[in-house]
Subunit: 746 residues, 2 copies
């Protein structure tokens, strides 16, 4: 698995947190390629003009920094012209960037203005700073995801158990105890990961480095599924917190949620970073609210002053307690752990000594999580609260019991909604990052590597929003309906990450390796058990969707990588591309087909012209009618001083005669060939003709010069037959065909 | 309105029935343009090479008829090559056409095979024959539309009246009498049209020639709305005839109807023509069935042997009889007349003497229509049948009363379904024809002029199917819900057509003009009354949809024509395009911007190079990275022997330095400019740079040569950033920019 290691080696230089540098997108040439490049240069030298001749021939000054000032320029009508002096400088930067981004169409400009208002001005690459977090900030920022899940996990568990009535509810405490134990084990397990991967040990990295590429991809797929569902579930639970307080909003659940996702999308495209206090506040507020709730509730319950819980509406048993039911409840409750991996991903963001601070924070987080979870379960148990049909979350019911409907109740609900929003936002940071790591390893389309002009991975953010919104809407924004999908991805990533750590310790065998290995092995085993539980018990309830998505993502990753490998190999400067420099075999005019068939190394003779002298031209100008656009294309073709052939396709012989007549009247300046197409097709006969030309003289590079009428508005294009576009599409698959469009603007 | 006459002059040469010839799509040059062409030729002669030089320089034999035989050619791998010898000949035609049509991608080829299986092999232009019809064939073919409407019109009328209970039903006979009178008047009116327009007098032609362009367009819009609704209503009524007999099919109404539309679509794309006996049979069967039904029913009713009609389920009055109700019932019943214009459109299809035969046929049709309509109304009145909630059409109820459920009942239902299908098929012939007439006058997009390879106006047929299917589905396939939309379009076309005839007679004032004018004026007045009745009484029930569609179509037609006029004027060879032949003002290298601003006649200096010497080149090759694709693009650019500038966009200064290093290693053979784009944008800075080049030297034609990686499957394209396509889109709006893509196939 040595090349897996090389692929994911980028993690070593601490690029985990920030986006990969530009070199990741355009890798440097290796020595072999450089050698080929030099060799190629010598070929050019031998056959081409003196470079100085080219330079002197240049009719323009390419350095547009020395461009005349704007006020000296007589503005040409219609044309939009923009100074670019500032591009290299500093003071005009924002202005130049604005100008450089201005799209050419009116609609485009309007969209551009909306975009700027929403997203702000573009940011320079150098604006990327690596912020270091204090523990007091890191804790709330990184634990929002996991802590927020106590808002829905107990309820999800109860929703399963209540089907079996009181007998089912009796399992609440034992199952919760098992979950708490699991939390402990996973937390200890991740403490190991933090020390071993101080540069950030996401599941993709850890599983990929230790278990191989495929487990790494599976872990990444699990993580991505997890992030998508984090958005969907957190938004659903957040909206539920709001609608519990304002029941009138219940019918608007789906639009509300979609609105929240849209706000998250816009905010993240703008580039919301972990911005200190703003992001710390909701978490602390939520922790405070939960402690207040738990303590007040417990005191009330134990002192007997608690008001009676409303009678459970579904308390009659609909089915008996079975193993499957308990498994399902366990898997639902275990979603309280989603997000526990966050700190281990973000180790480099801590202040020095990073791993030590990260570990301390992880411990704090685990303690908080366990306390809140256990406290809430105790409160639920003591008050006898059950998920009701009253459009109220369990948390809202508990808060009402303890605080009535006063400002404390509102505070609890607001804090809950806020932390859930923050949790969803976490996924907006993590999903594009994982996707960009995968793209760097060629496992995802390269568009996910592209940084938007606000330095955010815009494409990944958009993808996440769209998929999460679709899933949210498809499940009607109901948290409990989404929960069965959730556990699979999370525990898949946990299991693979912990298993990777086991292999890691086994390979390393440093001091205390046995203890570390044991901790991680326990974590891995328990995670795997939850994974199996969730996948089996909830398969038909929705887990199959998650399994399907994971499988699909893995398959796509593999295909994507295969494609990139093929393309990169094809595009690489490689020795045999120049070791057989071909010279013209057919002299122009002989027209024989006994030309070069294949190069010596078995490649076909196509497209290995790397020096100008190897290219022999023929321009073909397809002309539909005699008008200014086609005259311009003919003039362009002729001005290149290479052989030109005009081609006219005619539906009938009479039409052809008429056209030949025009040609004669014009003066017959260029060779014309008229092809009669009795089937009225234009594209197919032309493609055919060009292919036949290629067959006749495979050494020629045929340039098809298409006149193209460009309309000012895109919908006007619908009124024209867009022949140029159709021909371009049809011709681009042919070998050694260059396509030139000579636009004529109307 | 002289140019309206010129526009629609195509009708004079009898092209009404067949499609317009190829010359319609590509109009001939007028003398002025020819003069400009010759002038232009002299310019070329003065400045360009000797034509013989060009011809000798041609490295290929352009006449591919003399192409070597296939077996002599060593087949190149990967490349698909097809013989084109047969294109001009006769015996290999079908084969060559097949080959010529073969699309290059695998998906395309599969689709192609499906298409051939469904639609058959392509047809030659010469396969267009103008079939002449005997009266016995013409009658059923041309009257299917109008006769079939008696299957739903009486029911539509009753459905309105029954709302007022028995008091409403009492109006059945008077309203029917009015409709019969209207039928008579319109028939007489159309008899005038037939004599006056022996080459075919569709509403578009008659209204356009006599009333002006706008009324013509309104008539055409009305007709098109009518045809769309004919399909929707006929299919709905046909499906109702089937579901009346087989009630189990009622829930499948919409899928059934969509299936029928799909069959009609496929059949018409294949090019179903009025194919004699096959199309005559359903009409005669329907006529026979109706006569049998009416006679049997009347005999039974009058002899008192009729079984009692089932009690009317809605017989209690839901509202009183008002003027609006009667108007609505009248408008609904008047839909029995839809399709009466068919014969007047098709006069040239009759045998000699065309107009006399057409008139006789029209008279027959009118007599049949009135007899069937009156007979059915009488039967309904006598049996007391009303539209029921039993999923049975009125016709089906009548047939059951008369024939029970035996084979005669099945025959009536089958014949009804068959003639309705035939009526829908009529619209598939007429709609694309009207659209093509409009396209010939530049009132509709030119794609509707294009004949498919089966000689059918494929695009119009597809448009009709889609729109009719959408409307059918939107109204749930319920005939009575569609009826309110129907009358407006039909009577709009009737009114304008008859009014046009009034003007025609007034202008002509031939023998008996007063009588003819009086007949047409009566027809026009009555049609206008029905139009107003329908539009007002049924506006809220659906007529607004029809009014909206008509308005939209008219507006679009005007915009389309305006656009074509603008474009044609811009593309026309025109004197001032060459009267000021421009010569290079800036000599290369001076780089001043004080170049030519505007030509003397106020046009900007752009894009009026009509001779090769006027074009001064600069090639710009944007290069992202050093690979084979970009080396090939550079080689191509250099081989053109015109000034070349390589352009690299770099996200950072270090990246730029690295690239300059590669360039030096290669040998620095071409001038390189590196633009640092700190905002990571690629397209915008490049567009900007090219614009700045244009500003610096407006006389240059800048060719942007883009390396483009072409993947074998289109979805692989999603994995690449498709920079070439994005740049092409961004650059095509700039003046004097030619875009060349050098493909590199992976």
């Amino acid at each position: 698995m040595s090349d897996t290691r090389r692929d994911s080696g980028g993690s070593e230089d601490g690029q985990q947190l920030g986006p990969p540098g530009p070199s990741a997108a355009v890798p440097a040439l290796d020595p072999e390629q450089l050698q080929v490049l030099r060799h190629l240069g010598r070929e050019w030298e031998r056959v081409s003009r003196d470079p100085e001749v080219w330079r002197r021939a240049l009719p323009v000054d390419p350095d547009l920094g020395s461009f005349p000032e704007r006020h000296e320029i007589r503005p040409a009508p219609v044309v939009r012209l923009v100074r670019v002096t500032g591009l290299g400088g500093t003071e005009h930067e924002a202005e130049a960037a604005e100008a450089a981004d201005l799209p050419p169409t009116r609609l485009g400009r309007a969209a551009h203005r909306v975009r700027r208002a929403l997203l702000g001005a573009p940011l320079r690459n150098t604006a990327l700073v690596r912020e270091r977090m204090r523990k007091l900030i890191a804790l709330p920022v990184l634990s929002a995801d996991v802590l927020s899940s106590v808002a829905y996990a107990p309820e999800a568990m109860l929703t399963v158990l209540i089907v079996a009535g009181a007998a089912g509810l009796a399992y609440t405490v034992p199952i919760s105890a098992a979950i708490v134990f699991l939390m402990l084990a996973v937390a200890v397990s991740y403490r190991q990961t933090i020390r071993a991967y101080p540069h950030g040990g996401g599941s993709y990295i850890v599983a990929g480095e230790n278990l191989g590429r495929l487990p790494g991809l599976v872990a990444a797929a699990g993580l991505m599924t997890d992030y998508i569902l984090t958005v969907a579930v957190s938004v659903a639970a957040g909206v539920a917190a709001i609608t519990s307080a304002v029941p009138a909003l219940v019918p608007a659940t789906v639009p509300l949620g979609l609105g929240v996702i849209a706000v998250l999308l816009a905010g993240n495209l703008r580039g919301i970073r972990q911005a200190g206090i703003l992001f710390a506040a909701p978490t602390y507020a939520f922790i405070a609210a939960m402690f207040a709730l738990v303590i007040t509730g417990l005191v009330q319950a134990l002192s007997g002053s608690s008001p009676a819980a409303p009678p459970a509406p579904h308390a009659q048993a609909a089915q008996g307690v079975g193993v499957l039911l308990v498994m399902r409840a366990f898997a639902s409750g275990a979603t309280a752990m989603t997000g526990m991996e966050a700190i281990s991903n973000a180790v480099p963001a801590f202040r020095r000594v990073e791993w030590r601070n990260a570990r301390t924070t992880l411990t704090c987080m685990a303690v908080l999580l366990i306390t809140l979870f256990a406290g809430l379960i105790a409160l639920i148990e003591l008050t006898g609260t059950v998920p009701g049909g009253t459009h109220q979350t369990v948390l809202s019911q508990l808060a009402r019991l303890s605080f009535g409907t006063g400002w404390m109740y509102v505070f609890v609900q607001a804090a809950t909604a806020a932390i859930l929003l923050l949790a969803a936002n976490t996924a907006f940071n993590d999903f594009p990052r994982v996707l960009s790591l995968m793209a760097r390893d060629n496992h995802a389309p390269r568009i996910f590597l592209r940084l938007g002009d606000r330095l955010a991975f815009s494409n990944g953010i958009i993808l996440l929003s769209v998929v999460a919104a679709v899933i949210f809407a498809a499940f009607g924004g109901v948290t409990t309906a989404l929960i069965p999908l959730y556990a699979v991805g999370v525990f898949l990533a946990f299991t693979l990450s912990q298993s990777g750590m086991v292999v890691h310790w086994w390979r390393l065998r440093g001091p205390h390796w046995r203890k570390s290995l044991a901790f991680n092995a326990t974590g891995a085993t328990l995670s795997a058990l939850v994974l199996l539980t969730a996948a089996i018990a909830k398969f038909t309830e929705g887990a199959w969707v998650a399994v399907f998505i994971v499988g699909l993502l893995v398959l796509m990753s593999l295909r994507v990588r295969h494609h990139y490998t093929t393309v990169d190999a094809a595009l690489r400067l490689r020795p045999h591309a120049i070791e057989l420099p071909r010279h013209a075999i057919c002299s122009p005019g002989t027209g024989g087909v006994e030309g070069p068939g294949e190069a010596g190394d078995g490649r076909t003779e196509e497209e290995n012209e790397e020096t100008p002298s190897e290219i022999h031209h023929l321009s073909v100008v397809p002309i539909e009618t005699v008008d200014l656009a086609s005259m311009r294309a003919l003039a362009y073709a002729a001005s290149l001083q290479q052989p030109v052939l005009a081609l006219h396709l005619s539906p009938s012989e009479e039409e052809a005669e008429r056209f030949r007549g025009y040609w004669t009247q014009w003066g017959d300046h260029l060779p014309l060939e008229v092809v009669v197409s009795p089937y009225r097709a234009i594209v197919a006969p032309l493609v055919n003709y060009v292919e036949a030309l290629h067959l006749q003289r495979p050494d020629l590079t045929v340039t098809v010069i298409l006149p193209e009428v460009v309309t000012r508005r895109w919908w006007h294009g619908l009124l024209h037959d867009r022949l140029a576009a159709r021909l371009r599409r049809a011709l681009r698959h042919l070998p050694k065909i260059v396509i030139t469009t000579v636009p004529f603007h109307v």
